[in-house]
């Protein structure tokens, strides 16, 4: 295994989180944007029992698809091949990048235009392309803005959500040749449109992600509002689609229930402007569309999640971002603090499989387990349970006979083990426990004034005068 592409040391995460929390500006922009998305989503689901029915069915579809995953992948491959699509398989980011770069080289590529694809972020394709001497240009407005500023997306659906329009106005005036300063959103979008249309025309390759891959028809479905995805998949001579292996569904009719929840959960839209279903390259006689179409199926740790029946539910995800929007931690610190491609709750449960627990064990701890994510997840992934499970795997060696996860036990600490062993010893011995309570209440004046993270913003905890145990016992006696 090569070193993970991203490493999120606990201390660096905490530093970034502390800085983000102290940044009033960032706090209010995330709070406002998340409030907006939460309200938009809520407006789409006025009927709670109906929503529950929909979520249960969507979960069923995803679980069914995953149960048949290897068969469906083969069926998808067969169908796509029949349709004239080349299907590639990649176990690692390096492999995926190599496949894409080989195709690009074959077409003497100078420019690749990219539609929104989190998997391409996951494999750091843009870097790999740059290293190979080719340009990879993001064309989703948010992604374009973020790339222009040398940043990464801070949200999987709204990549530039951390920026104000004034910041974007300054960025465009500075970096886009010929662009005058304007903070009118319409004009800013107009500038992006003009620059990118030029690029769509000249790019040799278009790259896109995939929202659903339908096995029975060999159809790749893409959800978007802007039309850049359609540009990338239609204008250049070559289209490369890249997706995680988990995105397959068996039948076309499985798509509508998922699509209805995806767009409503993500941005509170009943549907996006475009739902693009691609089943093959340009056929003889057709006048546009790519002449070559490739699909790259990426594992990158997904088979590890798949190997465990509880963790497999991670792969039910349809990447709507609702768990982020509703996460009180994400809302406070924003996407960049996480330091992983996928931020927020979904990032915390999926990144350990991609990058290993050594690189990511802090992420599952950054949650109060409030359950807001699990409550809104349209495919009912039990996110809090998975966070707990990953906390456990990070702190313990694999059980005998079980295959260790990548980075298993990386956060194990003798001290913490001792503390929990002591805790269990105390709480499994009632007499000892009562004695402890007796002592703690009698010596309450000796409570330490500094209590680790607690007292950073709180007064110290102090035991009561008498425990409930004592008071109840006294009552019984009297």
């Amino acid at each position: 295994m090569n070193a993970p592409l991203q490493f999120v040391p606990a201390s660096a995460f905490k530093q970034r989180a502390a800085a983000a929390v102290a940044d009033a500006h960032l706090r209010s922009s995330f709070r406002n944007a998340m409030d907006f998305l939460i309200a938009r989503r809520a407006a789409q689901f006025p009927d709670a029992p109906a929503l529950e029915r929909q979520r249960a069915f969507a979960e069923h579809i995803r679980k069914y698809s995953l149960a048949r995953l290897p068969d469906l992948l083969e069926q998808l491959e067969r169908k796509l091949t029949d349709n004239g699509v080349s299907v590639h398989w990649a176990e690692t980011p390096e492999e995926a990048n190599r496949i894409i770069i080989d195709i690009a080289r074959r077409h003497s590529t100078r420019l690749m235009v990219k539609g929104k694809s989190m998997v391409s972020e996951e494999i750091e394709l843009n870097h790999a392309m740059a290293d190979a001497g080719m340009e990879a240009l993001e064309s989703d407005m948010g992604e374009y803005i973020v790339q222009l500023d040398g940043e990464k997306p801070s949200h999987i659906i709204m990549p530039a959500i951390h920026k104000t329009k004034q910041q974007i106005a300054r960025l465009f005036a500075e970096k886009v040749p010929g662009a005058a300063y304007t903070d009118s959103v319409d004009e800013l979008i107009g500038i992006g449109r003009a620059v990118l249309r030029e690029k769509f025309m000249t790019a040799e390759i278009g790259l896109s992600g995939v929202n659903f891959a339908v096995a029975e028809t060999g159809t790749l479905c893409l959800v978007e509002n802007e039309g850049n995805g359609r540009m990338c998949t239609t204008v250049p001579d070559v289209h490369i689609a890249i997706t995680g292996i988990e995105k397959v569904v068996e039948k076309l009719e499985h798509v509508p229930p998922l699509l209805a929840l995806l767009t409503r959960s993500a941005t509170g839209q009943a549907i996006t402007t475009y739902f693009n279903m691609i089943s093959g390259p340009r056929k003889p006689g057709e006048k546009d569309g790519p002449r070559e179409l490739h699909l790259v199926l990426v594992d990158n740790g997904r088979t590890q999640a798949y190997g465990d029946e509880q963790l497999r539910s991670t792969l039910q995800c349809i990447r709507c971002g609702a768990c982020m929007n509703h996460c009180p931690v994400y809302t406070r610190i924003g996407g960049h603090a996480y330091g992983s491609t996928y931020p927020g709750p979904i990032g915390a449960i999926v990144s350990p499989h991609m990058l290993g627990l050594a690189a990511t064990h802090v992420l599952p701890t950054a949650s109060s387990l409030c359950g807001a994510c699990g409550e809104v997840c349209p495919v009912r992934i039990p996110i809090p349970d998975l966070l707990i499970r990953l906390r456990g795997e990070a702190q313990h060696a694999a059980r005998p006979g079980e295959k260790p996860m990548l980075g298993q036990g990386a956060a194990q600490s003798r001290l913490i083990d001792i503390i929990w062993a002591g805790w269990a010893a105390l709480y499994t011995r009632p007499a000892l426990y009562r004695a402890f309570g007796w002592l703690a209440t009698r010596f309450r004046a000796l409570t330490p004034p500094m209590q680790s993270g607690w007292t950073a913003s709180r007064t110290p905890l102090q035991p009561a005068r008498r425990t409930l145990h004592e008071q109840m016992a006294a009552r019984k006696r009297s």
Binding site: I333, E375, W454, L468
Partner: protein, 260 residues
């Protein structure tokens, strides 16, 4: 999720068990005592098994399944009679009701015991409302209060609905809504120790929202949230303090003198 929607509630029993929870035991025993008093006033005898300690949630949420199991096992058999088990904390009730059966899923005998126990576990306000079917008499002066139920109480036990309905029986108590009411206060057990910056930002926002309501006090059905918010307020030198719902209800409805 509202438990009331799918749970079948028994007739009011003559006897119940109280599971006091470790936080209440050590830090807010008055809340436990007030819960007992409220139950007794309804003519219910309260049994408090002396061997109880903690539901095991701290280890569970920290990723220590072995220790969780050991501590949970130590509670599992403390309630032999078929009486309801009342838990004056939404998150501990959620632990025993929803997580115990999963913790013991690999052992058929323990699983059946855990499932049987889970069926008898009631969060305190849920019990008052749906099983004891209390009719509260408001004996206090007009008051404006806010309500913060813990996330587990809200999402696993539907406590926000139960608490609000109970408070609705008190005509002179106005329950003020606060902004982002369903949002977590940032306690999260060891989360508050591990990620103090994030946790205190969350607690800070919550106390601001509670203060903005102009309420005299705020109520919680969970000691953890209450301690988190009260100690945050104290550190800020703010006079606002929260109360456990049991304490508020007991004081409000006339305390000792009014026993039926």
């Amino acid at each position: 999720m509202d438990e009331a929607g799918r749970r079948h509630y028994p007739e009011k029993p003559a006897r119940v068990y109280l599971f006091g929870t470790c936080l209440i035991d050590l830090f807010c025993p008055e809340a436990g005592m007030d819960a007992v008093r409220l139950l007794e006033r309804e003519g219910i005898e309260v049994h408090f098994p002396a061997a109880q300690t903690c539901c095991g949630q701290p280890a569970h949420s920290s990723g220590f399944p072995e220790q969780t199991r050991a501590v949970a096992l130590a509670q599992l058999r403390l309630f032999p009679e078929a009486w309801p088990v009342i838990v004056p904390s939404g998150s501990c009730a959620g632990m025993m009701r929803h997580h115990y059966p999963r913790i013991f899923a690999d052992d058929p005998r323990l699983l059946s015991e855990a499932s049987a126990l889970a069926e008898r576990v009631f969060e305190f306000t849920e019990f008052l409302l749906h099983v004891a079917r209390v009719r509260l008499t408001d004996r206090g002066a007009p008051a404006r209060v806010a309500l913060h139920t813990s996330c587990a109480a809200r999402r696993e036990m539907g406590t926000h609905v139960h608490a609000r309905t109970l408070l609705g029986q008190l005509p002179r108590v106005e329950v003020a809504m606060h902004t982002h009411e369903s949002e977590c206060c940032g306690f999260g057990g060891t989360f508050s120790l591990k990620h103090p910056a994030i946790s205190s930002a969350m607690a800070g926002d919550k106390v601001e929202a509670l203060k903005q309501t102009g309420a005299q006090t705020f109520l919680s059905a969970d000691c953890g949230c209450m301690l988190n918010l009260n100690h945050t307020l104290q550190k800020r030198g703010d006079p606002l303090q929260g109360q456990h719902l049991a304490t508020f209800l007991w004081q409000r409805t006339g305390a000792e003198g009014e026993q039926r």
